[in-house]
Protein backbone atom coordinates (compact mmCIF):
# COMPACT_ATOMS: atom_id res chain seq x y z
CA UNK A 1 0.00 0.00 0.00
CA UNK A 2 1.15 3.57 -0.69
CA UNK A 3 0.39 6.29 1.87
CA UNK A 4 1.26 9.87 0.90
CA UNK A 5 3.74 8.54 -1.62
CA UNK A 6 5.49 6.11 0.76
CA UNK A 7 5.30 2.33 0.63
CA UNK A 8 3.65 0.78 3.65
CA UNK A 9 3.05 -2.81 4.71
CA UNK A 10 -0.60 -3.55 5.39
CA UNK A 11 -0.97 -5.00 8.89
CA UNK A 12 -3.51 -7.64 7.85
CA UNK A 13 -7.17 -7.02 7.14
CA UNK A 14 -7.90 -3.57 8.42
CA UNK A 15 -10.47 -0.84 7.79
CA UNK A 16 -9.54 2.68 6.83
CA UNK A 17 -10.79 4.01 10.16
CA UNK A 18 -8.68 1.47 12.10
CA UNK A 19 -5.65 2.42 10.03
CA UNK A 20 -6.21 6.17 10.61
CA UNK A 21 -6.68 5.66 14.33
CA UNK A 22 -3.48 3.63 14.52
CA UNK A 23 -1.61 6.43 12.76
CA UNK A 24 -2.92 8.94 15.30
CA UNK A 25 -5.10 10.99 12.94
CA UNK A 26 -8.12 12.92 14.22
CA UNK A 27 -10.72 12.06 11.61
CA UNK A 28 -12.56 15.39 11.92
CA UNK A 29 -9.39 17.19 10.74
CA UNK A 30 -8.52 15.17 7.67
CA UNK A 31 -9.50 14.35 4.10
CA UNK A 32 -8.61 11.01 2.53
CA UNK A 33 -8.32 10.09 -1.12
CA UNK A 34 -8.16 6.41 -2.02
CA UNK A 35 -7.02 5.52 -5.52
CA UNK A 36 -7.85 8.99 -6.76
CA UNK A 37 -11.33 9.21 -5.21
CA UNK A 38 -12.31 11.11 -2.07
CA UNK A 39 -13.51 8.73 0.66
CA UNK A 40 -16.69 10.02 2.38
CA UNK A 41 -16.29 10.17 6.17
CA UNK A 42 -19.26 7.81 6.52
CA UNK A 43 -17.32 5.12 4.60
CA UNK A 44 -14.13 5.09 6.72
CA UNK A 45 -15.49 2.28 8.93
CA UNK A 46 -16.44 -0.10 6.15
CA UNK A 47 -13.64 0.64 3.69
CA UNK A 48 -11.27 -2.35 3.86
CA UNK A 49 -7.75 -1.47 2.74
CA UNK A 50 -6.03 -3.50 0.03
CA UNK A 51 -2.36 -4.07 -0.77
CA UNK A 52 -2.56 -2.14 -4.07
CA UNK A 53 -4.30 0.91 -2.53
CA UNK A 54 -2.87 4.38 -2.90
CA UNK A 55 -3.92 6.63 -0.02
CA UNK A 56 -3.47 10.36 0.18
CA UNK A 57 -4.19 11.73 3.66
CA UNK A 58 -4.39 15.48 4.23
CA UNK A 59 -4.29 16.73 7.82
CA UNK A 60 -5.45 20.30 8.35
CA UNK A 61 -3.98 22.56 11.03
CA UNK A 62 -5.57 25.72 12.42
CA UNK A 63 -5.01 29.29 11.26
CA UNK A 64 -6.33 31.37 8.44
Amino acid sequence: MTVNGENRKLPGRISLSEFLMGEGFQTERIAVERNGEIVPKSSYGHTVLEEEDRLEIVNFVGGG
Binding site: E33, V58, G63
Partner: protein, 232 residues
Protein backbone atom coordinates in the same frame (compact mmCIF):
# COMPACT_ATOMS: atom_id res chain seq x y z
CA UNK B 1 -28.63 34.51 6.22
CA UNK B 2 -27.90 37.57 4.17
CA UNK B 3 -27.28 37.55 0.48
CA UNK B 4 -26.92 40.29 -2.05
CA UNK B 5 -25.11 40.99 -5.22
CA UNK B 6 -22.94 44.04 -5.24
CA UNK B 7 -23.00 46.19 -8.38
CA UNK B 8 -26.46 45.19 -9.53
CA UNK B 9 -26.99 48.35 -11.46
CA UNK B 10 -24.60 49.43 -14.16
CA UNK B 11 -24.91 53.05 -13.03
CA UNK B 12 -23.40 52.22 -9.68
CA UNK B 13 -20.35 50.70 -11.32
CA UNK B 14 -18.55 53.98 -12.00
CA UNK B 15 -15.32 54.43 -10.13
CA UNK B 16 -14.02 57.91 -9.42
CA UNK B 17 -10.42 58.90 -9.68
CA UNK B 18 -8.68 60.32 -6.60
CA UNK B 19 -11.64 62.36 -5.40
CA UNK B 20 -11.61 64.42 -8.63
CA UNK B 21 -15.00 63.09 -9.58
CA UNK B 22 -13.52 61.86 -12.85
CA UNK B 23 -15.08 58.56 -13.82
CA UNK B 24 -12.90 55.55 -14.54
CA UNK B 25 -14.71 53.54 -17.15
CA UNK B 26 -14.63 49.79 -17.58
CA UNK B 27 -12.80 50.33 -20.86
CA UNK B 28 -10.06 52.38 -19.16
CA UNK B 29 -9.58 49.68 -16.56
CA UNK B 30 -9.47 47.04 -19.29
CA UNK B 31 -6.83 49.04 -21.21
CA UNK B 32 -4.78 49.44 -18.01
CA UNK B 33 -4.72 45.66 -17.54
CA UNK B 34 -3.97 45.12 -21.23
CA UNK B 35 -0.85 47.25 -20.81
CA UNK B 36 0.37 44.48 -18.50
CA UNK B 37 -1.28 41.34 -19.87
CA UNK B 38 -1.56 39.73 -23.25
CA UNK B 39 -5.15 39.75 -24.62
CA UNK B 40 -5.36 36.00 -23.91
CA UNK B 41 -4.34 36.46 -20.27
CA UNK B 42 -6.79 39.30 -19.88
CA UNK B 43 -9.67 37.20 -21.25
CA UNK B 44 -8.86 34.20 -19.06
CA UNK B 45 -8.47 36.18 -15.85
CA UNK B 46 -11.38 38.56 -16.38
CA UNK B 47 -13.58 35.61 -17.33
CA UNK B 48 -12.58 33.87 -14.10
CA UNK B 49 -14.96 33.03 -11.31
CA UNK B 50 -13.91 31.99 -7.81
CA UNK B 51 -15.38 31.64 -4.32
CA UNK B 52 -13.58 32.57 -1.11
CA UNK B 53 -14.75 30.80 2.06
CA UNK B 54 -13.59 32.66 5.16
CA UNK B 55 -12.62 36.34 4.96
CA UNK B 56 -9.92 36.53 7.62
CA UNK B 57 -6.17 36.88 7.09
CA UNK B 58 -6.09 34.46 4.18
CA UNK B 59 -9.43 35.12 2.51
CA UNK B 60 -9.40 38.93 2.66
CA UNK B 61 -5.91 39.06 1.14
CA UNK B 62 -6.68 36.43 -1.51
CA UNK B 63 -9.75 38.44 -2.59
CA UNK B 64 -7.76 41.67 -2.85
CA UNK B 65 -5.06 39.97 -4.94
CA UNK B 66 -7.65 38.46 -7.29
CA UNK B 67 -9.49 41.78 -7.63
CA UNK B 68 -6.23 43.58 -8.46
CA UNK B 69 -5.34 40.91 -11.01
CA UNK B 70 -8.60 41.66 -12.82
CA UNK B 71 -10.67 38.65 -11.81
CA UNK B 72 -14.22 38.63 -13.13
CA UNK B 73 -16.45 37.31 -10.36
CA UNK B 74 -15.98 36.57 -6.67
CA UNK B 75 -18.26 34.97 -4.11
CA UNK B 76 -17.30 36.10 -0.58
CA UNK B 77 -18.52 34.00 2.35
CA UNK B 78 -18.13 34.71 6.07
CA UNK B 79 -20.46 34.97 9.08
CA UNK B 80 -18.21 37.21 11.15
CA UNK B 81 -17.77 40.92 11.79
CA UNK B 82 -14.54 42.97 11.76
CA UNK B 83 -12.85 43.27 15.16
CA UNK B 84 -9.83 45.24 16.33
CA UNK B 85 -7.85 42.02 16.82
CA UNK B 86 -8.22 41.28 13.09
CA UNK B 87 -6.32 44.34 11.92
CA UNK B 88 -2.85 42.86 12.51
CA UNK B 89 -3.25 40.63 9.44
CA UNK B 90 -6.49 41.26 7.58
CA UNK B 91 -7.11 43.95 4.95
CA UNK B 92 -9.73 45.86 6.96
CA UNK B 93 -9.15 49.21 8.69
CA UNK B 94 -10.62 51.12 11.64
CA UNK B 95 -13.55 52.34 9.56
CA UNK B 96 -14.71 48.72 9.17
CA UNK B 97 -14.92 47.80 12.87
CA UNK B 98 -18.23 46.10 13.63
CA UNK B 99 -19.17 45.64 9.98
CA UNK B 100 -19.82 42.20 8.51
CA UNK B 101 -16.60 41.11 6.81
CA UNK B 102 -18.54 40.37 3.62
CA UNK B 103 -19.75 43.96 3.38
CA UNK B 104 -16.42 45.53 4.44
CA UNK B 105 -14.45 43.47 1.93
CA UNK B 106 -16.93 44.08 -0.88
CA UNK B 107 -16.43 47.82 -0.29
CA UNK B 108 -12.64 47.50 -0.41
CA UNK B 109 -12.76 45.43 -3.61
CA UNK B 110 -15.13 47.86 -5.31
CA UNK B 111 -12.60 50.65 -4.76
CA UNK B 112 -9.97 48.53 -6.50
CA UNK B 113 -12.20 47.39 -9.36
CA UNK B 114 -15.76 48.75 -9.53
CA UNK B 115 -16.47 46.40 -12.44
CA UNK B 116 -15.72 43.21 -10.52
CA UNK B 117 -18.88 41.16 -9.99
CA UNK B 118 -19.14 40.46 -6.27
CA UNK B 119 -21.63 38.17 -4.53
CA UNK B 120 -21.61 37.90 -0.76
CA UNK B 121 -23.11 35.47 1.72
CA UNK B 122 -23.01 36.38 5.38
CA UNK B 123 -23.47 32.98 6.94
CA UNK B 124 -21.76 30.17 8.80
CA UNK B 125 -20.89 27.40 6.35
CA UNK B 126 -22.21 24.01 7.39
CA UNK B 127 -21.89 20.67 5.62
CA UNK B 128 -25.48 21.01 4.38
CA UNK B 129 -24.87 24.45 2.88
CA UNK B 130 -21.36 23.93 1.47
CA UNK B 131 -22.38 21.58 -1.33
CA UNK B 132 -24.96 24.06 -2.62
CA UNK B 133 -23.03 27.29 -2.04
CA UNK B 134 -19.97 26.38 -4.06
CA UNK B 135 -21.19 23.99 -6.76
CA UNK B 136 -21.33 26.63 -9.50
CA UNK B 137 -17.79 27.85 -8.77
CA UNK B 138 -14.96 26.17 -10.68
CA UNK B 139 -12.47 27.36 -8.04
CA UNK B 140 -12.91 27.59 -4.26
CA UNK B 141 -10.35 29.15 -1.91
CA UNK B 142 -10.59 27.52 1.51
CA UNK B 143 -9.62 30.22 4.01
CA UNK B 144 -11.22 29.14 7.28
CA UNK B 145 -9.27 29.16 10.55
CA UNK B 146 -10.42 26.04 12.41
CA UNK B 147 -9.00 22.73 11.20
CA UNK B 148 -12.36 20.96 11.56
CA UNK B 149 -14.05 23.60 9.38
CA UNK B 150 -11.28 23.31 6.79
CA UNK B 151 -11.64 19.53 6.65
CA UNK B 152 -15.45 19.71 6.56
CA UNK B 153 -15.40 22.13 3.64
CA UNK B 154 -12.81 20.19 1.67
CA UNK B 155 -14.53 16.83 2.21
CA UNK B 156 -17.98 18.17 1.36
CA UNK B 157 -16.93 20.03 -1.77
CA UNK B 158 -14.79 17.16 -3.09
CA UNK B 159 -17.73 14.79 -2.55
CA UNK B 160 -20.58 16.97 -3.77
CA UNK B 161 -19.16 19.53 -6.22
CA UNK B 162 -17.48 17.45 -8.95
CA UNK B 163 -16.52 20.48 -11.05
CA UNK B 164 -14.89 22.49 -8.25
CA UNK B 165 -11.14 22.65 -7.63
CA UNK B 166 -10.09 23.69 -4.10
CA UNK B 167 -7.09 25.81 -3.17
CA UNK B 168 -6.75 25.48 0.61
CA UNK B 169 -4.44 26.90 3.27
CA UNK B 170 -2.91 24.86 6.08
CA UNK B 171 0.05 25.82 8.26
CA UNK B 172 0.92 29.52 8.20
CA UNK B 173 1.03 30.52 11.88
CA UNK B 174 4.10 31.90 13.64
CA UNK B 175 7.18 33.70 12.34
CA UNK B 176 9.08 30.77 10.94
CA UNK B 177 10.80 31.08 7.59
CA UNK B 178 8.58 32.26 4.76
CA UNK B 179 10.49 29.76 2.62
CA UNK B 180 8.75 26.83 4.30
CA UNK B 181 5.40 27.86 2.82
CA UNK B 182 4.75 26.05 -0.44
CA UNK B 183 1.93 25.04 -2.78
CA UNK B 184 1.30 21.31 -3.12
CA UNK B 185 -1.16 19.41 -5.25
CA UNK B 186 -2.35 16.78 -2.78
CA UNK B 187 -5.30 15.43 -4.76
CA UNK B 188 -6.56 15.85 -8.30
CA UNK B 189 -8.91 18.66 -7.22
CA UNK B 190 -7.09 19.81 -4.07
CA UNK B 191 -4.12 22.13 -3.77
CA UNK B 192 -2.77 22.99 -0.32
CA UNK B 193 -0.69 26.05 0.46
CA UNK B 194 1.25 26.46 3.70
CA UNK B 195 3.93 24.64 5.65
CA UNK B 196 1.41 21.91 6.50
CA UNK B 197 2.17 21.89 10.21
CA UNK B 198 2.52 25.22 12.03
CA UNK B 199 -0.73 25.54 13.88
CA UNK B 200 -2.36 28.48 15.61
CA UNK B 201 -2.13 27.79 19.35
CA UNK B 202 -1.69 29.42 22.73
CA UNK B 203 2.02 29.90 22.00
CA UNK B 204 1.94 30.49 18.25
CA UNK B 205 0.04 33.45 16.83
CA UNK B 206 -0.83 34.52 13.30
CA UNK B 207 1.46 37.17 11.80
CA UNK B 208 0.51 39.37 8.85
CA UNK B 209 3.57 38.59 6.76
CA UNK B 210 3.45 34.80 6.93
CA UNK B 211 -0.33 34.74 6.46
CA UNK B 212 0.16 37.03 3.45
CA UNK B 213 2.75 34.65 1.97
CA UNK B 214 0.25 31.81 2.23
CA UNK B 215 -2.60 33.94 0.83
CA UNK B 216 -0.38 34.94 -2.09
CA UNK B 217 0.40 31.27 -2.75
CA UNK B 218 -3.33 30.56 -2.86
CA UNK B 219 -4.11 33.55 -5.10
CA UNK B 220 -1.22 32.62 -7.39
CA UNK B 221 -2.52 29.07 -7.76
CA UNK B 222 -5.99 30.44 -8.58
CA UNK B 223 -4.49 32.66 -11.30
CA UNK B 224 -2.47 29.73 -12.63
CA UNK B 225 -5.63 27.63 -12.86
CA UNK B 226 -7.47 30.46 -14.66
CA UNK B 227 -4.57 30.63 -17.10
CA UNK B 228 -4.76 26.89 -17.76
CA UNK B 229 -1.81 25.76 -15.60
CA UNK B 230 -2.65 22.82 -13.36
CA UNK B 231 0.77 22.10 -11.94
CA UNK B 232 2.08 23.91 -8.86
Amino acid sequence: MEEYTVNKSRDKRRGTEGGTGKTVTGEQLRQALLERYSPRMYEQISGGKAAVAGLGGLGSQIAVLLARAGGGELLLVDFDRVELTNLNRQVYDLSHLGMPKTEALAGILQKINPYLKIRVKQEYVTEEKAGILFQEYPILCEAFDKPEQKAMLVNTVLERCPETVIVAGSGMAGYGSANSIVTRRKMRRLYICGDGETELSEHVCLMSSRVAVCAAHQANMVLRLLLGEEEV
